[in-house]
């Protein structure tokens, strides 16, 4: 299970955003792409997860477990993504937010059980019926990560996920995310401008 970028190039109006990028990320590994804001880091992630706007032109190949993702629609790529904003669905309670991510075919009872289990593990026991808007920033960030992972992605993209948290929380959340990704044993790609975010695996500068 690897995520492989082969000579990825993204252009806008025929202006390339960065030099062509190639990287191989093994399972359980968290690769870091570093670069100042505006260098096209988020655009790179959009290209990988499939939400790249048609205003951009993409060349090169993206392979997940050896299969090219280029022609696969976003929703079928099985590539999860996490942003600095939590994007919890404001009209659903925490439980429904998480249930939304669980693949179909899992019976209702089991879904509920599973959700309660991950909530408990995350130290958020009894949060099933809570309104996302009433949670703290750190709690929301954790739920958002749990939600991404419940969809059972085959790779995870992290778009500056810690930049909005305060210093103490950042530290906590960082180790929490890294721990979860390693436990899931999937390749992960983190983009950031903060050198502290690096997970100890390979680092690419854009």
């Amino acid at each position: 299970m690897t995520l492989q970028l082969n000579e990825i190039k993204i252009s806008h109006d025929n202006q390339p955003l960065f030099d062509s990028l190639s990287i191989i990320i093994k399972k359980g590994e968290i690769a870091t792409v570093m670069g100042p804001s505006g260098c096209g880091k988020s655009t790179l992630l959009a290209a990988i997860c499939g939400s790249l706007s048609q205003d951009f032109q993409l060349s090169g190949d993206i392979l997940l477990e050896g299969n090219s993702l280029i022609q696969v629609p976003m929703e079928l790529r099985k590539v999860g993504i996490l942003f600095q904003d939590d994007f919890l669905f404001p009209h659903m309670d925490i439980g429904s937010n998480l249930a939304f991510a669980i693949p179909q075919g899992v019976p209702a009872k089991e879904r509920k059980l599973k959700i309660n289990k991950v909530l408990e593990k995350a130290g958020l026991k009894g949060f099933y019926k809570r309104d996302p808007a009433t949670l703290s920033g750190g709690q929301r960030a954790r739920i958002s990560l749990l939600r991404s992972l419940l969809a059972e992605p085959k790779a995870l993209l992290l778009d500056e996920p810690f930049s909005k948290l305060d210093k103490a929380l950042k530290e906590q959340m960082r180790s929490y995310v890294f721990e979860q990704v390693r436990e899931m044993n999937i390749p992960a790609l983190l983009v950031t401008h903060d050198p502290d975010d690096n997970a100890g695996d390979q680092v690419v500068n854009l």
Binding site: S53, P73, E75, R77, I81, F89, H91, F100, P103, A151
Partner: protein, 569 residues
Amino acid sequence: MINRRENRLGYFPRIMIWLFSLFIFFGLAGTWLPSFGYLPIIGNTEFSFKPWHDFLTYPGFLNSLKSTLISGLGASLTALTLAIGVVSLSYGNRAWSLFEKFLAPILSIPHAGFAIGLAFLISPSGWIFRFISPELSGFVNPPDWAIIKDGFGLSLMFCMILKETPFLLLMIMGSLSRIDIQGTLAVGRSLGYNKFQVWFKVIVPQFFPDIRLPFYAVIAYSLSVVDLAVIIGPTAPPTLPVLILQWFNDPDIAMRLTGAAGACFLLILVVLIISLMFLLEKATVVILSKKAVDGKRKSILSHITRVSDLTIFSFLFFTIMALAVLVVWSFTWRWRFPDVFPESWSLLFWQKSFMKVKDPMLITFVTAFVSTIISLILTIGCLEYELTIPKEKLTNDLSRLIWFLYLPLLIPQIAFIFGVQIILTILGLDGLWITLALSHLIFVQPYVFLTLSSIYRNFDIQYTNIGAILCGSYLKAFIFIKLPMLMRPVLFAFAVGFSVSVAQYIPTVFIGAGRFATITTEAVNIAGGSDRRVVAVYALYQLLLPMTLYLLAIFAPKIAFRNRKKMQV
């Protein structure tokens, strides 16, 4: 990926554009040809200028043109001035926030019902005179004054001002949401300009381009309105659109040709006046853009904030009182002039009318419901399509689309709906309910699109993207994430579209071919009747449907998301 969605969604804008084009093209053709004497279904196949000649030499033509111009131009220019003045002077103060709250319900009131209430309020035997008589005015009997249905169309103009100013204000508010008002005011005032000067020199020029088309729609509407003019406009002769309608309905079938010539004349008139307004705007911009940087910090206008607040209060006064007098009349048994309240009350007229309005209410409801649902689907389909195409291409598409959307509002209804009816008759499709619903759709669609589009476009697509990634289906994310999150604006757009359909008069009369009576056509038909109690009941029935929908649009999301803080606005 996105391309596949693009192909499927591409049908929505295409359907919309085809539907609009068909209606307008055949509508105009079906009006212009008869205006030159060509109408095979009544046996006229010779082209001639006789219809135009008959129309232009009609004895009442000049008087009719005069009252049409006074009421139509007077109403649209006054409404524009008031709307810009009120927003510049009162924005953000207490009177404004009161007005903001009432804006949606005010706009939901169908024109016909409102005009009936207003007539009951301001006529010589109306409520206002009953309040001040006989003590203040000395009248024991209603004075013999032509306050309503006056020959100049002033009462008609007044009624339209009351309805159109809030409409333009709503359009301005939509545009203002894109401008940082507080920031602009702070910068402007720190440069030594007072609040009104900042509005006048900096903010109005920013939003005016956005209300240009709505203003043109107001002009077209004011010059061609029929139902209001029947209720509260001049009578001998009536305004041009009413005159044209009378010819279209004349027992002498050849008069339809004269009517067609009149309808085409009305279209030319509207086009000319809109062009004139366009030139006037350009001239004003040239003059005012110099004035904007002349450095003057003072203006006498800044001292008339009170006048602006007073305008707001009088709007609220007339609207609320017009509704109140309808309610009072509908429960009246005996009410003599100059008593302030009825002598005796009764439920009789509500009871008597119930059986009579049942069918028209049902037709009104089903037609409004179906046309608005189709319109919502088309609108959302078009807006989703927008998301799949590159931005550069989009800006071109959009500027064209917006003109297209406004087209049915810029062409006088009577100038193409008659033509549509002619074509439908030739095709043997006249008097079908489905064509009636489609004709309503043409007028519902612009409003639904304009109400929904800006909020819909502002929706953060990351929510749908993340939803799609999480559940593996874009459609599912759209249905369970995007639509519920947009429930408020979608329901609001539904209520707007619904009330537009309910208020349609001309399309219902023509396309329905007299086979479908809605509560609006019924109310307009009996408005001239002498029994105010019956008329009041009908007018209230007409208000009932849109009001209910607006209440639903306001309260349903509140209840559904009562435990969701971020969904409360």
